[in-house]
């Protein structure tokens, strides 16, 4: 005989399904900017996210390896420019991350309300 329990299944928790590649403050910022801008240049990202070039490159490399962004290098005159575009997989991953964050917020709010007298 098994006893019924109210303990939720840990695999149901929204934090469990969070993608480690996307669920990172800087990488989320990169995806959010690239999504809004359609196409964004390396320098703009560096300024907005307040990162060193090396640090930003590492994050971009992680996202590119995961297939979430495309990186296109070119020249404008003599100046090298690197453009970042979100891939369809990147769009999906961003939407999924936002959905999971909203579920987490809703879950936290529900738990808080339950605990309040």
């Amino acid at each position: 005989m098994t006893a019924a329990t109210d303990t939720p299944d840990p695999s149901d928790h929204p934090a469990t399904g969070l993608d480690e590649v996307v669920h990172q403050r800087v990488r989320l910022g990169i995806l959010a900017i690239a999504h809004e801008a359609r196409r964004v240049e390396f320098g703009y990202l560096r300024i907005q996210l307040d990162l060193t070039a090396g640090n930003l490159s590492k994050h971009l490399s992680v996202l590119e390896t995961a297939g979430l962004i495309d990186i296109e290098k070119g020249y404008e005159g003599k100046r090298g420019r690197t453009w970042i575009t979100l891939t369809p997989a990147g769009n999906t991953a961003l939407a999924e991350e936002i959905r999971r964050l909203k579920v987490l917020i809703a879950r936290v709010e529900t738990t808080t309300e339950d605990k309040c007298p």
């Binding site: 934090a15 669920h23 990172q24 403050r25 800087v26 989320l28 910022g29 959010a32 900017i33 999504h35 809004e36 801008a37 359609r38 196409r39 964004v40 240049e41 390396f42 320098g43 703009y44 990202l45 907005q48 996210l49 307040d50 990162l51 640090n55 994050h59 420019r81 575009t85 936002i98 964050l101 909203k102 987490l104 917020i105 936290v108």
Partner: protein, 241 residues
């Protein structure tokens, strides 16, 4: 933003809020509202001589009849070229900042407004002379508002509303609502506004000249409002920087 990984204790609200802030910054950096308003103001001012030159006026004892052919010749290409110029400006400015730009909506807006204007004016020119609305009697207010809405100045307002929605631009939305209230409810853009006697010089005394002048005044006001808006948005952008 920091380079730290998100820890289990990180607040998802904060993450979402950061993302919204970044997306908002991108939208703000992509905007070139002042250019759009200045282009539309220039188009409005340039329309005045066309309207004046191509307006046919026939005056008889019981009044004057007029046809504003210049609107049809000028505005459809002007709207297409205007929105194309706006789209190109947006692309260039965004690219200079290191961003992409959504320009398809501007091109579509230009094409749709030009199409609506041409269709409405051709249909009116073909149908209304043989079927005067409301038996040739006075038109109700809703008809007048509709007439003003499909006139070029009303369509500019509608296009600006679309722009404000696409850019999620609240200041532009407020400006556009004010502009639409002016051109739809206050300014007689399609009926003309007779200037006061003191503003008329002796060579303007002919009936047909006065009719042309009455059509010019609302266009001057509309162009000035768009110009003022363009200057205002440009100043606000410079101050923000």
């Amino acid at each position: 933003m920091t380079t730290d990984s998100v820890s289990a204790g990180d607040d998802p609200r904060r993450l979402l809020s950061d993302m919204r802030i970044l997306a908002g910054r991108v939208r703000r950096d992509q905007r070139l509202t002042w250019v759009a308003l200045l282009v539309l103001a220039a188009a409005t001012f340039l329309a005045i001589p066309f309207d004046w030159l191509f307006m046919t006026v026939r005056c008889e004892a019981d009044g004057c009849m007029f046809a504003r052919r210049g609107l049809l010749y000028y505005w459809p290409p002007a709207l297409l070229l205007g929105y194309a110029a706006i789209a190109v400006s947006y692309v260039r400015a965004a690219r200079a900042q290191g961003l992409g730009a959504r320009v398809l909506p501007y091109a579509i807006t230009g094409a749709v407004t030009a199409g609506v204007l041409t269709t409405a004016y051709v249909a009116a020119a073909l149908y209304l002379p043989s079927h005067p609305p409301f038996g040739g009697g006075p038109s109700p207010f809703w008809w007048i508002v509709l007439d003003r809405l499909i006139a070029p100045w009303g369509l500019i307002g509608l296009a600006l509303l679309v722009l404000a929605r696409l850019e999620r631009n609240v200041p532009l939305l407020l400006f556009t609502l004010g502009y639409l209230a002016l051109v739809l409810l206050v300014l007689p853009t399609t009926e003309g506004a007779v200037p006061p006697d003191w503003a008329l010089l002796s060579f303007m005394s002919a009936a047909d000249t006065q009719l042309r002048l009455s059509m010019t005044t609302p266009q001057l006001i509309t162009g000035t409002v768009l110009l003022a808006g363009g200057i205002g948005f440009s100043v606000a952008r410079r101050r923000r920087r």
